[in-house]
Amino acid sequence: MRFVFKKSYDDDIKLFKHKPQAFYYLILLVLLIALPWLIDDFFLGEATNVLIFAIAGMGLMLLVGHTGQISLGHAAFMALGAYLNVIMMQKGVPFIISLPLAGVITGFVGAIIALPVLRLHGIYLAIATLAISVLTEDIIVIAERWTGGVVGLVAEPINIFGLDIDRYGTPIAFYFLVLIITLLILAAYRNILRAPLGRAFVALRDSEISAQALGVNIAKTKATSFALSCAVVGIAGGLMGHFAGAFNHESFNLILSIQLLLMIVIGGLGSIHGAFFGAMVVGLLPQFIAITRDSISGIFNLGSVPIPGIETASFAFILILIIMFEPMGIYGRWLKIRTYFELFPFYRKNMFKRQKSYLKTERMK
């Protein structure tokens, strides 16, 4: 069992609870940096994909997991970031400016949309954001002059201070680019969570009324959360555009919006880890399915006929299992396992029992 004796307020505030925890994350960081030399280019591309999804996941997690606002429409903001980024690069803006700028503009758009939309709650908010995703697909086609309509856009080559970075040409450089951006966003996220703004977000999630009575400006705080969320997701979209090489209105459709939400639920709602775990599932699932199918057809001598939609169906199936048996997601299960070992042999099964909330309607009819 480990006891952490805190001797100053800083012990509470600092990022890592105790030295061993910092050490483990350091090892993880070293592993991430060394990754290009440990695996081949194809898997490095997969890892980059996972990181991009993790960035999008962090964006959505901030809004859904920490501020408690559901969104079924975030692919729309990925699209916005992707299109803005490429359009600006086409006009000659260097990547190192266009990407963050795309994020910032997407954030502003998010803030504007947030003001009317975040007055809604629960299912109405879900439906409104769903409509936003669907509408964005159509709007992209309508705005053909800028977006290339159904044909879409091709991502411009990236050049940072003379260094050419291309997903296929220089996969290692691209990987590091994405990794750096991931770490920066991660640091900002953690900082916000341990500062008053992060607490205000969580307060909104758990009890809007008492948050208000304690001085939290609901509209402004929700809009801030939405804006930050959209900005991060916009950056992820921009990176995704370069990763895919080319994209159109169907690249960021409603299904993707839903997948993002499912992803962070699988990972574990309410924790930053959840975004990463969820991204790993999304990124690695297609490979896993391919491998299992190969071994199964090897055993049963079936042809290797591709089954359409099996990835999404498996993803959905995993989610149903998670929701039914481990609502806290992968991170939740990891937490329980870790606590079991930390407290051994004093772990009690009911430590993480969630209080049941029975339905008490707020409708009047």
Binding site: I13, I192, A195, A211, G215, Q355
Partner: protein, 257 residues
């Protein structure tokens, strides 16, 4: 000079008049109690002061200025804090985190400095935690500091509600049924705490309560309400023996029981 005053406040929900032409004022450093049967409009008065409702008629003044133009989230910055009758804590956070949210109205940092966790943010955090730790010491919540609300017993949650309100460093504290559901011992603790809040911290207290023992022990003055109307106002003894109050609680004497 009164700290807060209600003047001819009326509020109705559709056909039901919840608060009917109620006026009272509370002086600085007073402990003022609102009593009355259920449905008398006591919590509604609190919700009016917290600006969750708008009165149909009348005015509410804090430190001689009308507060009717304020939003609910602007009220804490005046120095008004409240607890809720049905506990409204943040269930998925620890006691410490709940109390830290109480410091929101003192927040001076902005988004950018928080994203980078600038030294000014760190300094502020230390100060916030210092204040919160003092509240924890005052209410003897040390044992529960890092525990999640979801696992705490009811009595402790009531104290955490109080602690969170105190963490805002208020001038006026609105306590909505602080003793409801508490045992005799816990109610006695509450009596001592309210006395300390008044005497040591100089905070003005308005309390909605049913427990007459608590009311008479700590209150300077009491206002009795029934059906939204004022029945009597005065010291606890005066109000308790007022014929109208007795009638509201027990019925007219001379009627068959």
């Amino acid at each position: 000079m009164s700290l807060i005053s209600l003047e001819n406040v009326t509020l109705s929900f559709g056909g039901l008049i919840a608060v009917n032409n109620v006026s009272f004022h509370v002086g600085k450093g007073e402990v003022f109690s609102l009593v009355g049967p259920n449905g008398a409009g006591k919590s509604t008065v609190f919700n009016l002061i917290s600006r969750f409702y708008d009165p149909k008629k009348g005015d509410i003044k804090f430190e001689e200025n009308s507060i009717l133009a304020l939003r609910p989230d602007q009220v804490p910055s005046l120095g008004i804090a409240r607890t809720f009758q049905n506990i409204e804590l943040f269930e998925q956070s620890t006691v410490l985190q709940n109390l830290l949210v109480g410091r929101q109205r003192h927040r001076k940092s902005n988004l950018i400095s928080e994203m980078f966790f600038a030294p000014s943010v760190r300094e502020e955090e230390r100060r916030h935690r210092h204040v919160v730790e003092e509240v924890i010491d005052f209410l003897e919540l040390q044992a529960y500091r890092d525990k999640y609300i979801a696992g705490l017993p009811y009595g402790v949650r009531k104290v955490v509600e109080l602690a969170r309100a105190l963490a805002t460093e208020p001038k006026l504290l609105l306590l909505d049924e602080p003793a409801s559901g508490l045992s005799l011992e816990e109610t006695n603790d509450m009596i001592y705490w309210i006395e300390d809040i008044k005497n040591q911290m100089g905070i003005t207290v308005i309390m909605v309560e049913h427990d007459m023992n608590l009311v008479s022990s700590v209150s300077d003055r009491v206002l009795a309400l029934a059906d939204g109307k004022e029945l009597a106002i005065g010291t606890p003894e005066q109000v308790q023996s007022h014929p109208k109050v007795i009638e509201a609680y027990l019925g007219k004497s001379g009627e068959k029981a």
